[in-house]
Amino acid sequence: MTFVEIKEQAKKVWDVLQTSGKPLITIGTATCGRSAGAMAVLHTFREELNKRKVEANVVEVGCMGPCYAEPLVSIAKQGHPAIIYRNVTSERAVELIENYILGSDPMSQYALGTVGAGSIEGIPILYDSPAFLPQERRVFRNCGVVDPTNIDHYIAIGGYSGLVKALEMTPTQIVEEVKNSGLRGRGGGGFPAGRKWESCLVIPEKEKYVVCNADEGDPGAFMDRSLIEGDPHALLEGMIIAGYAVGAIRGYIYVRAEYPLAIERLQIALEQARNKGFLGTNIMGSGFNYDIEIFQGAGAFVCGESTALTLSIEGKRGMPKVAPRPRTTEVGIYDKPTLLNNVKTFAFVPLILNKGAEWFAGVGTEKSTGTAVFALTGKVTNCGLIEVPMGITLREIIYEVGGGIASGKKFKAVQTGGPSGGCLPESLLDTPIDYDSLNAAGSIMGSGGMVVMDEDTCMVDVARYFLDFTEKESCGQCIPCRLGTKQMLDILEEICQGKGKPEDIDFLVELGEAIHAGSVCGLGQTAANPVLSTIRYFKDEYVAHIKEKRCPAGVCRELITYSIDNVKCKGCSLCIKSCPTEAITFVEKKKPVILDQDKCIKCGTCRDICKLDAVIVR
């Protein structure tokens, strides 16, 4: 079949959903939706609609972005814009069926916003709302819209036309377009993608490979996972174009084994792509032969490092190669030229070919063009996945898109770049998001993790947390990282336990700088960043821990005491029932309870459960 025919067929499938006259109900069942209970909601919709003999199309889609509002359900009735409902439960599902699908009450109190032409009274337009207005969903445009297990959806709304266009261009032309777009590697390194593609293209070798780094090891990062779960074909199309552009024979997607749903979606997508002739021999009649294989990781953060990753694919031990070493584009898997890029980097390419390099660079900054995807998490009101133009400030992200600090607390710091990144304080909130500005501020862009911290976060504990992670994940081949991260961690643990010494701060800086200069790979080289940045901007907290044996944020267990506010406590006993060590005893009704310090393990359960704010933590 020609692409024109394939697209026509796909459009029929898609149009049936949009114009059938039946309500179209989409439910976000990516991992975030599932963990919020989306599968039960899906089941309820199917069952209840069936029971009532209501004809409707119920489709599972990926994550739209606002994970704080999961499970998300979109209901589109003919002639009306789709309404996105938030935090839908099975009970709410029944209400929506009875009141909106069968009735005409859109239940605006449950709605997040509308999408599509037209408006509904009482419900804001989703993309005009404060959390969405600053965003520009480009690479994530299909997530939450298409059924990721149905390639026809992707094709109908423009998918694979980038590949068709690419096959009519020469490899050099494709690489030029990617260069002109200014696209920089979205895995965190920010290396100009076009230049990397070119350096692989020019090598006169028949056996070349394309590898997608979908290891996503940063704790708290889920951008790549969501893209693969919600729109796997965006990645595939990008990788096929890349294969054609550099002259590769095969592509590999190195995906961490801890992403079973993403792996499943990829397997389905690959099969469907092969069936349509987008993968395999003589792709779309171009004579280009190429297929893609999934390779699962085995639980090592260090295998997200490009040389360790390529070794892992070869079945060897995933340990980074020691410099000097040739670039992966020259010597990669099986010692052959290998183009290695992050998931998002590949996924941008079909857009760049379809809409042009100028369109891509039309947003963003001069040196960091385009949009960036972040997993905005932590103490913000609106946690989730966001896609914003480069150049937007941290303040805009946190206070507009993120909706500010949750529970009215005070902002303290924002951490970007995962365990390789740094923590930036309030004074740097107007830093624009771009590779160079973040580097200058003492952090890094990273692959998109962004954790917001408030007054209840202890910055020393944050440094300790990241070092704990890095120390466990160190491959162990070089002394600075293997022994150095352990020593830094030990010192930080002692500081958190009130055993810190005055000379520790300077020593941490010295040790950190030596580990940075001496380590073999990026893991070791950046391991000290969380420590160095928190010492730089939050030194007073370190000093308080060391000199005063005090944790200002009330986090470090050895340094805090829980006590009962005898004025506020009315003896309701909620805390007594919840205390895991039975450290609280009842006195009498209306009288404050008594907390036994010796039994208290400072777990915080009583503070969380108390409705009168009568638990003091100092």
Binding site: V322, E473, S474, G476, P480, S519
Partner: protein, 243 residues
């Protein structure tokens, strides 16, 4: 030949040589722990790091791996290099505070004590034993098992090695002497790999001179008759002289 500058001294080096080899040939000292000229280099201990400058760009690199380049400027003792070297040494001293070779090396570098938390190991995980067993003996009985701070040299699953031939090459290259080989009577024991070997007696002088396993392995892999392996080293030399 390649011309480069090391610590201000212009030297000529063979193409393909590493900076470490070129420096040592000219008597320029660069400390190492995980380097041995009989096996491949790993660049793991980071003690041999030097500062390289070329085309106005400066960076640090492991001299045991970096090949000499025309016009390269090398500094073996710049402040950055010394910081890394001393830190690596101090980290090692903290891991092996009771190892004399490590104490000596540290002292020579000006690292007398450390305030870091102390362990009590004697293996520095340089990997030389692993590499010599793989590359010279060709048996690969041991490897650097486990990841990160749990890394240790061990036979598979830390069980008694099935492939060890008892040649003792590992002990020979170990910089800290932590591989213990005990030859008592007709038995050799290598405690670290939990192996014991029966030694062969010299046909001539009666001395127990090498494990049977090692000699049989050599005769097989070198395709030489077993009779060639019945004399100890001394008696073999004598026999050759008498011919």
């Amino acid at each position: 030949m390649v011309t480069l500058t090391i610590d201000g001294q212009e030297i000529q080096a063979k193409e393909g040589a590493t900076i470490l080899e070129a420096a040592r040939e000219k008597g320029i000292e660069i400390p190492t722990l995980c380097y041995h000229d009989s096996v491949s280099s790993a660049g793991a201990c980071r003690l041999c790091m030097v500062e390289l400058t070329k085309n106005n760009q400066t960076r640090l690199a492991a001299s045991c791996l970096y090949p000499v380049e025309e016009g390269l400027m090398v500094k073996t003792d710049s402040p950055k290099v010394m910081n890394v070297r001393k830190t690596a040494m101090e980290l090692l001293l903290a891991r092996c505070p009771n190892s004399e070779p490590i104490q000596d090396m540290a002292r020579a570098m000006g690292v007398d004590t450390t305030d870091l938390d102390l362990e009590d190991e004697d293996c520095i995980l340089c990997g030389l034993c692993v590499r010599v067993c793989q590359e010279i003996a060709g048996v690969s009985t041991i490897s650097l098992a486990s990841r990160g701070t749990k890394r240790k040299v061990a036979p598979p699953f830390e069980e008694a090695s099935e492939d060890c031939i008892g040649c003792g090459s590992c002990a020979h290259v170990c910089p800290t002497g932590c591989i213990k080989i005990e030859d008592i009577g007709d038995t050799r024991t290598i405690h670290n790999w939990k192996v014991e070997f029966k030694m062969r007696q010299c046909r001539e002088c009666g001395k127990y001179f090498a494990p049977e396993a090692q000699l049989d392995y050599l005769s097989e892999t070198l395709d030489l008759p077993k009779e060639n392996f019945e004399l100890c080293q001394d008696c073999r030399v004598k026999a050759a002289q008498d011919v």
